[in-house]
Subunit: 144 residues, 2 copies
Amino acid sequence: MTYTIGEVAEKMDLTIHTLRYYDKEGLLPFVERTESGRRIFSDRDIILLSTIECLKATGMSLKDIKQYVDWCVEGKETVPQRYELVKNQKKVLEDQMTQLQKMLDAINFKCDFYKRAIETGSTDLCDSERKEWADKVINGTFNR
Amino acid sequence: MTYTIGEVAEKMDLTIHTLRYYDKEGLLPFVERTESGRRIFSDRDIILLSTIECLKATGMSLKDIKQYVDWCVEGKETVPQRYELVKNQKKVLEDQMTQLQKMLDAINFKCDFYKRAIETGSTDLCDSERKEWADKVINGTFNR
DNA sequence: ATAAAACATAAAGCTAACTCGAGGTCAAGA
DNA sequence: TCTTGACCTCGAGTTAGCTTTATGTTTTAT
């Protein structure tokens, strides 16, 4: 199965410009061309793109993603490196989720605070909550 | 309790430049000055900074964070707006976590793939895993 | 046959969020 | 007192990741 750049853009929810940019940056080394120079994407490229999107979604830079792609091109002797990279990114992701959970707690706290402030019609009645937030901040519950 | 810009930078793990940048952008409206012009940070500023860091960690832009700060300055008649903003950011965060969990599944899958490839000394033996990944991609398990 | 749509390159432009440098002022310790 | 280090402003520079523009070619539908 092959696809035009427009079809891929549609399928992957990226712009055509972005796909060409990725290609130029060397992130799509397997994309072929027609005689007249048009790009032909295969399922393999779709799969690579989905991996790229996956790594990008976890905050990896395109530069580091290119390293991964380069290793893919080099062949199976780079499997250990790729394993290391993916394992490391897994760690990054787990840390991110821990951090986000903390932020979610903090945001829930803020949410409740404002909700009560609205219900009681005053922020003053929420002094205890405000103090609690301050304590969390100062004791470092929410940061570092 | 008051702090110099250097102390705050240390405490909040930001650079002095970044703090001045935030101040210039209007994100720290309560910071006072000495007669000679040096910034004096109070606990209130530390608390606001921690809120800023919290919102930033969930991907909110400084522009949107400034809106929140502006509402804080305006006083309690903006509590409903602040509630909406925080509630919305909570939703953003929950979506993010769902997405990240998917990415984590995908990364775990990749991780296992490479691990087995190393154990068996060949990527060829992992064809079934590769196919499984392709299926997930094509059936949209990992994207959209 | 032809007009519109889709594709191509190359280079410039943009935005966010810093980051750095120059040049100067102020404050705290020996 | 003097020197060293922390602070100040202002403006320019940087980086990532696109995005737009200009110009031109190739398909495709009528």
